[in-house]
Subunit: 351 residues, 3 copies
């Protein structure tokens, strides 16, 4: 989609200063602007960038008066930030996928129930007794097992796999390669050193407004459910083992892994590459720093860091000392020397 | 599947105490029981839960006599644990996927050999000279390259990709998104700073009884094979690089990564997020703690922890000292003060 | 493909010593040689292996004279290493996939432009206005969204997903399960604790000669692009967040993760399981050790290690001290004792 400066100015009721024929097809930050993009200047702190930006069009407030030559085309409006936001909304709306209907070929079991205004892409397989709610979009090459239930207004991107019996709420987004409901990693050690598979009979429940990143894997419960509560957001390549529960509005960044049966509270924030041992209870509003290894339960509102994870203040204090360990080592060596000579002196004195 | 209390009691030759019309469709632990599930009480330690459990039916021993009011329906049997186990077996059997036959459309090369009682799901692609053993189930959207051999009684879930020439033994389970046989990460640095791809000509061999988790990636050998020995179990999102060998009955938890050409012995246990450098030899019965970074070979029966990994006893001792480093720091500062005043005193004494 | 000793000797203009009827179907290192493989001996350091190798044929220099009995078949040539290299080239050429044409069924939008000598596998979906350059191979079950552009001579393996608007250069290789262009992980916290999704409007650009490993995920830019520069090589299960830029010929090993908007220079090498915080600038020729956690920008040519990452020399020094912390602890305790007794003596002396 390309937009001309004159069209944008007309839409925003703005005034063009510069080339009125220039076109843009994207948006950018003023400090990173590329040709062919539109940006905005609202905060005076960023004014310096307007003299160097490569963005083709910049929205500015009517009150803005350049103090140097400007190469980009300006569109002067009443409130540059508001105008940019309204253009952004328009752009998102225009980009929004309005596809509907069922492509060919797909495999949809005769007992499956498909809602209204649904999109189902080619090569998608939908199992026995599965349901897909109204206005949901199932992209190509998706697998929904038997009895899977997908709510309304969901987006399931290409190549997502959802095993039998899993339940997806409304307004959920699952990115490509996400796997929901794979077997928990449970094996009973036998006397001869082999392992016997423990049947994994449970499912996964995603409540409403959950987003799951690309290539993330969420195992089913051994019995019962692995549960991702309403509004939780899970990034790419995350591992969530059997029978975990992730609380409402908790956010988990990329490559974090949770071992089995851990329960995470509401409104937590996990940074990337965190590891959580099994059978822990993490409170509400807990924050966990990147690469932390959590081996104990954590109370509400705690902020932890490091592996093994401790309170972040202690972690930072310890890091500082660790960085200075070579100095500490030298101080101890110096003390040893001092004490040796003191001893010698002392023994001389006491003679 | 729903089961009525009367049917269960009849099957187990048990006696109902309570509502004989109640139905269950799943199983639960007594301490987590949900309505609609069946649980059991065998260990007297758990007796307290029977007075509060929300499970609809609980199997108990004939010898059990409640000491308070019980809301759930009881079924009294000779041995509650054995009865639960036999119900579980029945349930697993009933849930067991009995699907057979080849769905439509699939792409199966005319030279491929498909065994008896095999299931092949829609949108699956099977290459030239590939073979699928008897009673194996290949779910929809699977890719088996040329010359791939899948043994008997395997389950290959939706969206697994197996590159050319790889060999899968009998009774293997591969979960969705697993990739077997992708190119090893080998590039020869050139004088101009670019890299030239080193051809990856080998394959991957999975022996019998191997299970591979969701979205795990196992690269082929550069020459020769990457080998996963009989009975090894690999969790989700694990990376196994070219020419590694994983020993019999070794268990590797989620998000662990092995660099190229490392050889792991039998009956090892790796926790989650472990990293193993390349060209190492790990003995038999080795245990590696979560998030450990292993940069040296490890002898039989060792237990290691930390990054870089050391013997777990040393690691725990070191962790304790690290946690107390701020105290150690203060002790050194105190010693410095003491030594300073001793010196001063000493110099006064010696005058 | 099987080759007989006589054919190989004829091709290389070499002389057979031993069984001229033996056949090989693969290649091996002399120290790991398996029956049915061909190996070579060039470096005298490896001579001892020739007396024990199980390889069926070994290429040796004309100048080689065995000092003990040899069971394998030898082919004597002028330069064993060169001969092996030329056989390897022949083998790679023979194995090279020459498939062309469009299989059935596929879903290719009528507006998509497909170049010459292209291969498109079954169950692949190619969107509106997408383009595939000459001689590229798109394996089965691939998803190319709307406006996706794939250059010439690319290999896109089974099950790769590329979201709308992403651009793939020439000579790129993408392995199975790779996801390119999934949404950046951006959510605006609301006053009630919920998160509002920030529209992810950008794309991903892979320049020429880029290789992306199995199950790696690369998010699109929030605005603008996530960019992987020419010749960069990314291993399996790597996470690259929105708006990152990876410089030319930079190599990133498995399970490494980059948070949003970080910029990595040219010719860097990241080992496995590295974590990089967001909004960092990493210079050229930077090397980062395995499992490092990088929270600060890094200058050109630095080598860093550890979490948090520091210069590798400092990291190694610190590791050594950490390993010896129990000893340091004891030294401090000894010092405390010594100082106590010195104080006592001092106080006695001063009386």
């Amino acid at each position: 989609m390309e937009f001309k400066a004159t069209d944008i100015a007309a839409y925003l009721n703005g005034e063009i200063v510069g080339d009125s024929n220039v076109k843009v097809s994207g948006i950018s930050k003023i400090e990173e602007g590329e040709p062919g993009t539109l940006s905005f200047l609202a905060n005076p702190k960023y004014e310096s960038y307007i003299y160097t930006t490569r963005a083709s069009i910049v929205l500015v407030n009517n009150s803005f008066h350049p103090r140097a030559e400007i190469k980009t085309t300006l569109i002067k409006v009443k409130d540059a930030y508001q105008s940019f936001a309204s253009l952004l909304d328009l752009y998102v709306q225009a980009k929004k996928d309005s596809r509907k209907g069922i492509e060919n070929p797909t495999q949809i079991h005769e007992t499956a129930k498909i809602g209204e205004d649904v999109y189902i892409g080619a090569f998608t397989s939908i199992g026995r007794n599965a349901t897909v709610g109204n206005e949901s979009k199932i992209f190509p090459q998706v697998f929904l097992g038997d009895n899977v239930s997908v709510g309304e207004n969901c987006i399931i991107y290409a190549g997502v796999r959802i095993y039998d019996d899993c339940i997806i709420g409304n307004n959920c987004i699952l990115h490509s390669g996400a796997v929901v409901g794979s077997d928990g990693f449970g094996f009973a050690p036998q006397e001869d050193g082999t392992y016997k598979k423990i049947p994994q009979l449970g499912n996964v429940i995603l409540e409403d407004d959950v987003e799951i990143g690309a290539n993330t894997a969420i195992d089913c419960g051994t019995f019962g459910s692995t549960i991702i509560r309403k509004g939780a957001k899970i990034d790419n390549l995350v591992q969530i083992a059997h029978n975990c529960e992730i609380g409402e509005n908790t956010v988990i960044a990329g490559q974090t892994g949770l071992a089995g049966s851990s329960k995470v509270g509401k409104n937590c924030r996990f940074a990337g590459q965190v590891g959580l041992a099994g059978h822990l209870t993490i409170g509400n509003n807990v924050q966990i720093g990147a690469q932390s290894g959590v081996s104990k339960s954590i109370k509400d509102n705690e902020i932890v860091l490091s592996s093994p994870a401790v309170n972040y203040k202690d972690a930072i204090k310890t890091y500082t000392i660790i960085r200075n360990l070579p100095k500490l080592r030298e101080e101890v060596i110096q003390l040893q020397k001092d004490v040796r000579s003191l001893k010698k002196a002392d023994s001389a004195n006491s003679k």
